[in-house]
């Protein structure tokens, strides 16, 4: 847990301080032929790609894009999921049935496939567009969890008691239901981060996500020349960054989940 947190903090610091620590301009493409596809060396610790760009600098700047896109997309997905789940769970009846059938429909199509179809129909997207796309395909799971939790919470005695003192419904929700959702959202959000990072990387690798020359961990990999084995450094380092981040985020998410597991929770 501590190690995972340290790894994550390291990546966040790298992302935030990218301009200060990157040794080269990630987009600079020296025209010299001799700078192409250089293996790791003192001048270029992660080597250079087929356009002579410094891979280390691209990985550092890629952290900004990859982590930024993932975090904002997850926040969007959580907000949407929480809102839709809360409405469904709170209102019940037909609202609930319709919301949950939409969720079922969305969950029945693999998310990658859905994303590919959507990007294919819209054409290349800006970073903002990718965030919206990832956010808008990420909410169904969250909304189902939130709906379940809301249905439990809204029948708690203290919610009834609050209503019986004249609390209007929206205030009952803000005061007594919403705080109960926070732990669940925290865990869901962390684990969602671990699925969104590789999703964005995959899309970018395929050329459907973040567009070059902007670096993201996914599209750096696609800049390897020829077979990946020929310029292994262009594939390995951004790949390692993705794997380390996902593992760290997943570890943290699992620990958080253990913390709020109902069996470990004192009964309210």
């Amino acid at each position: 847990m501590k190690f995972a947190a340290a790894v994550l903090v390291l990546f966040v610091v790298v992302a935030v301080a990218a301009p200060a620590i990157a040794p080269h301009d990630p987009r600079a493409t020296p025209q010299s032929e001799t700078q192409k596809n250089l293996p790791p060396s003192g001048a270029h610790p992660f080597g250079t790609d087929q356009y002579s760009r410094d891979v280390l600098s691209r990985v550092i700047y890629g952290a900004r894009v990859s982590l930024g896109v993932a975090v904002v997309a997850v926040m969007l997905a959580l907000t949407l999921g929480a809102a839709i789940g809360a409405v469904a769970g709170y209102a019940g009846g037909w609202t609930d049935i319709i919301c949950m059938r939409v969720v079922d429909a969305m969950l029945s199509v693999p998310r990658v496939l859905l994303l590919l179809v959507l990007v294919a129909s819209t054409g290349p997207l800006t970073v903002g567009g990718i965030i919206v796309l990832l956010g808008c395909t990420g909410w169904p799971g969250t909304s189902r969890l939130v709906r379940g939790e809301v249905r439990l919470l809204k029948e708690r005695d203290y919610v009834l008691a609050s209503r019986a003192t004249g609390t209007p419904e929206w205030r009952v929700f803000v005061l007594h239901v919403l705080p109960g959702l926070v732990p669940q959202l925290l865990v869901t959000g962390t684990l969602a981060l671990a699925t969104v990072i590789p999703l964005e990387a995959g899309l970018s690798f395929l050329g459907l996500g973040v567009q070059p020359p902007t670096a993201s961990w996914g599209n750096i990999i696609s800049d390897a020349a020829g077979r990946p084995g020929d310029t292994w450094w262009v594939v390995l380092f951004p790949g390692l960054a993705i794997v380390c981040t996902v593992l760290a985020v997943n570890t943290i998410g699992e620990r958080l989940r253990e913390r709020i597991d109902p069996r470990g929770r004192s009964r309210a």
């Binding site: 009834l160 019986a164 004249g166 209007p168 205030r171 309210a268």
Partner: protein, 286 residues
């Protein structure tokens, strides 16, 4: 502990209001149905009764007879799937409760009618300071200053017999004992000095000694504020102790509505007599 015969010789009417006072709550043909996939159940099946201002009335009956459904219907706080029947009429203080919109009902709840819940452990939000939960009632009903609401909450907690109320108000429910939590709930219910308090088995979850303290507290507060209390219970000891009149409920209907003396000495309905016989006694008289 609860021997009704030894208790009912004291004169309950002296402390529990009188029936000549104006009618505060009038319930006619109340029907509550629960609709689920398995079908509809009539939990309350045509109940009619009145509560006079300042009176303490018991609604007695076994578990599942519909007592609590009556209470929630009076507050119009309905469980999912619960519906009040179309022919039902509830008149409170001259107003037709079932005709009020939700906004007017919110204004009424907690200010004119309030409710004390059965389980003090679960009726308080575990992640909110108890003082804030009491102060919230004042804030809902007109108090604008948070500071003043907090002070009123502390004063109210103090009035319900919580020692060191100013410090206790900053604590969370799990830091208080069951009896203290019930006092917090009472403070919430009585904050706005309502005309009617519905007490739904307020002592059932408590130890016997704490039960007695809470009953004493309710009696004192009732005398002080002149509120009417609808006491929902299955405990005839409590009925004899506090109430002037008792309504016996069975399977969604009121089978007997009479002064407590009569209930104990000359129950008119065979079910009432049976319920009374079910009360355990120390003195074996068979």
């Amino acid at each position: 502990m609860h021997d009704p015969e030894s208790r009912c010789f004291h004169d309950p009417s002296a402390e529990a209001g009188d029936v000549t006072a104006p009618v505060l709550l009038d319930v006619r043909d109340l029907v509550v149905t629960y609709v689920s996939d398995a079908g509809a159940v009539r939990a309350v099946d045509g109940v009619s009764f009145a509560v006079h201002a300042g009176e303490t009335v018991a609604l007695v009956g076994e578990s599942g007879c519909g007592k609590t459904s009556v209470a929630f219907a009076l507050m119009r706080v309905m469980a999912p799937g619960a519906r009040i029947g179309a022919g039902s009429r509830i008149t409170f203080d001259g107003a037709d409760l079932l005709a009020l919109d939700e906004r007017a009902m919110c204004d009424l709840r907690g200010r004119k009618i309030s409710m004390i819940f059965q389980e003090p452990a679960s009726a308080l939000n575990p992640v909110m300071k108890v003082g804030a939960q009491v102060a919230e009632v004042a804030l809902l009903h007109g108090e604008r200053s948070k500071r003043a609401a907090w002070d009123r909450a502390v004063a109210m907690l103090d009035r319900t017999g919580i020692a060191d109320a100013a410090r206790r108000a900053h604590q969370y429910p799990h830091e208080l004992s069951g009896g203290m939590r019930q006092r917090v709930l009472i403070a919430m219910a009585l904050m706005m000095r309502p005309a009617l308090v519905i007490a739904d088995e307020p002592t059932s979850a408590l130890d016997v000694t704490v039960q007695a303290q809470i009953l004493d507290l309710l009696r004192d507060l009732q005398r002080e504020t002149g509120m009417a209390v609808l006491f929902i219970t299955h405990d005839f000891g409590v009925v004899a102790e506090l109430c002037s009149r008792a309504m016996v409920m069975r399977a969604g209907r009121i089978v007997e509505d009479a002064p407590v003396d009569r209930i104990f000495h000359a129950p008119a309905d065979p079910y009432t007599a049976e319920l009374l016989r079910a009360v355990p006694r120390l003195t074996a008289d068979r």
